[in-house]
Symmetry: C3
Subunit: 332 residues, 3 copies
């Protein structure tokens, strides 16, 4: 495996093999598998779970990692092409990124969603620009429009908890949030659940439709897997029979890049906070998922997060096992 | 061993076994003992020695670690229960801490002494709240009222330098300092020296008495070990025959949580700086100890720190060996 | 090997043995060579390449490292001797550095060039003060006047690309830069190229002469190796027949420590930016080198950096292999 940038680059059977490997490594440690191997971790936006889970993954496989973030450079990194660098930035990504990559056997890259130009972000231009500067195996640690490590962990978590694949109902629900958040997780999640063969409903208010290319990609995955994908603002219909309610906030796609208009579109939507009533007509053993970090009392009620429906902690833990499988396939 | 939160949780023989293991690991490295094992390090207040000594300890045993501090989260971590998180904090410790723990085989936690409510800090409420969020073995890397890793290292250091246990005189002396410092080290130290069987004198000005629960715990340890514990402001009597002068500043317990009153209580106490005359009537081979960091010329004179009485560097080094023993017992 | 502070401390044959070891480790990994060994990394000024390449080097050899920078201490580190520490700094380097060293099997130190007192910096007083506080093997990770790890990597890079040693022409060219930069890299580089037996020309405008002690040391190395060292401001003569053009900016030595005078001396020198015409009379296969970070369009034109003459990425990568050789010799 030379790249792990998008779950959509893989066949369903390839993903299932990765998940089997993840579960094997969870139960049968291989503390010498990657002895002497180095993972470079490049963070262009901050992280807690991703940093910790990747560093832990490398240690568990007997290797190691190092972390670079732009604030470690004297005055940040320049990204614009062809510029005369007589300002603050002392280094250009065209040197910094290949050099960082040159010290690793693989590189994980977290890019930053500017939340300004929707088209550019759907094309994942920033992440692609960065990854093309590296000639070693590379891993998308969250880009403007994707988060394949989260998706692989989410898939494993549903397997672990016996959530049905074909025939299972997956509701990705928009949630209220005081800030305008990127599209990475919802875009990756709708595709992942469709690829797993589930009947996926995107539940969101008007103005928060997922972009058509995102929905198209998910529908194509569903066509291959036997699943389905729909989008609605009818909460009652969406939640009926749900096996999974996966909450996530994202910026208004109708007003993408326009913060005041986005804030206006979100105004009064505080009731988009997952709580007990959301599960009234769901499957008896329906589960609550979220990629974390999550705002309590805003995105989801405490009693859900602290109750038996929530599987957010095992979900976060599976980041580590999913990434161990990816690293094992890349570097072994 | 599932917890290393307080030396008081252990029998004297258990501590001695830990110290033997620490000395064995110092002289006979075991660079494969913890292959593939991960220590999560959670710092809620900054650190230099603790960070370095724990990271080095894991490498020496063949494992690894990762570090999380709240400033790595986008806007800090929320700690209040039941709050609607519509402010700055994007994550609650109720998710962050279990997730961090889920990536480790053990977790070290450094909590923050608010220095506001003495009763709450004596009960170590903040640390206990954090550790209860983790279901893996946990280590107290300094809490509001305790510092068992420092105490284990201090005990080893006295053994290394042949300081007598039963019959040895240990003086814990308050020292001047421009800031109001926590009670963690003095509280842990007086208990440790008593548990080691020493005759312990707490030397401090009026208003800086150690809290009664702290003294009570130390006296109980002394009763088991054959040592003794007293408290005084009579410097001449306290220092006579001392084998160890252990300097440490702490906030006024009479004015705990009241910074102006504490500053007033410290005013004019600049002579509480350990210097040559303090050793005039001490044992001939009396030693100076301090947990570091130490303010030169304020807490202790340069000529003491730079002279043959000071064992602060080996004392700091023993942090690593003491922690290696704890980790070895926890994770092997 | 107990110290790697200056290439000048070694015989030519010793350097060649290090380079052979570096190349061997590049092609034949030894992922267990330094199992359980710890490298302490002390950064008194920020770093990206040095941090990443040392951390990766230790992982590739089966050991590990930890990183300390002064901002990790509560209020920075005090460096002045004999001071009463009643201000902000809570710790003195006289404790902090020996303690950090006590956790490692070797220590790398990056000191800070104040760019104030030329004589003190040529004597490398700051670095020497720090290293004398450590009683374990130590590595200069860049000091005020030296950068032996960079030099070892540069030498290896020229070997890798078949750049002639004796008879090869090495031009170290001053370059324009908006800021006043230290003398570490130019001083180390002129010495390294001379020691390699090359004919070295330092090309710089008036006022930017390298200090006489630096030139003297390089000439002595040339006398041993059969090389030569000259200095000029005649660009046409300097570049003719060059095998290497190595660009680097540095502060005016005539106005050292005087920022306004230095800025005045640099004014109008924007044409000191290496570009295609610089290679017109150079050797056909002449190469461009730079230690990085480099300012594009200021120090060197994009078409050079992005073209076939530039070997800056392999040069940076060789930092890792050069340091692996040093660590292997120190800690094996």
């Amino acid at each position: 495996m030379k790249e792990f940038n998008d779950l959509g680059d893989f066949q369903i059977e390839e993903v299932k093999a990765l998940l089997e490997l993840a579960t094997r490594l969870e139960h049968n440690p291989e503390p010498r598998a990657l002895a002497g191997k180095v993972l470079a971790l490049l963070f262009l936006s901050p992280s807690l779970r991703t940093l910790a889970s990747f560093q832990a993954a490398m240690v568990r496989l007997g290797g190691g990692s190092f972390v670079i973030s732009p604030d470690m450079s004297i005055h940040g990194l320049e990204t614009r092409p062809g510029i005369v660098m007589d300002g603050m930035a002392a280094e250009h990504i065209r040197e910094a990124v290949p050099v960082i990559a040159s010290y690793g056997d693989a590189i994980g890259i977290r890019a930053f969603a500017q939340r300004e130009n929707l088209e550019s972000e759907i094309a994942d231009e920033e992440f692609n620009k960065l990854k093309e500067l590296c000639d070693i195996p590379r891993i998308n640690m969250e880009s403007a429009i994707n988060h394949p490590c989260q998706s692989l962990a989410d898939w494993k978590t549903m397997d672990d908890f016996g959530v049905p694949a074909n025939g299972g109902k997956f509701v990705l629900s928009w949630a209220y949030h005081p800030r305008a958040l990127p599209l990475a997780v919802p875009s990756a999640t709708v595709h992942m659940a469709a690829m797993r063969g589930m009947d996926v409903t995107v539940l969101r208010p008007e103005g928060f439709e997922l972009p058509e290319p995102v929905m198209h990609k998910a529908r194509q995955a569903a066509a291959m897997s036997g699943g389905s994908v729909t989008e609605t603002d009818d909460r009652a219909a969406a939640l009926e029979g749900a096996n999974i309610i996966y909450a996530k906030s994202w910026m208004s796609t109708r007003h993408y890049g326009n913060l005041p208009a986005d804030a206006e579109a979100r105004r009064g939507r505080e009731d988009w906070c997952v709580d007990e009533p959301w599960f009234d007509t769901a499957a008896a053993d329906a589960r609550f998922m979220h990629c974390l970090p999550v705002r309590r009392g805003v995105v989801v009620a405490d009693r859900i997060l602290d109750g038996p429906r929530s599987i957010v902690i095992p979900e976060a833990r599976n980041r580590m096992y999913a990434q161990m499988a990816v690293l094992h396939q890349m570097l072994r």
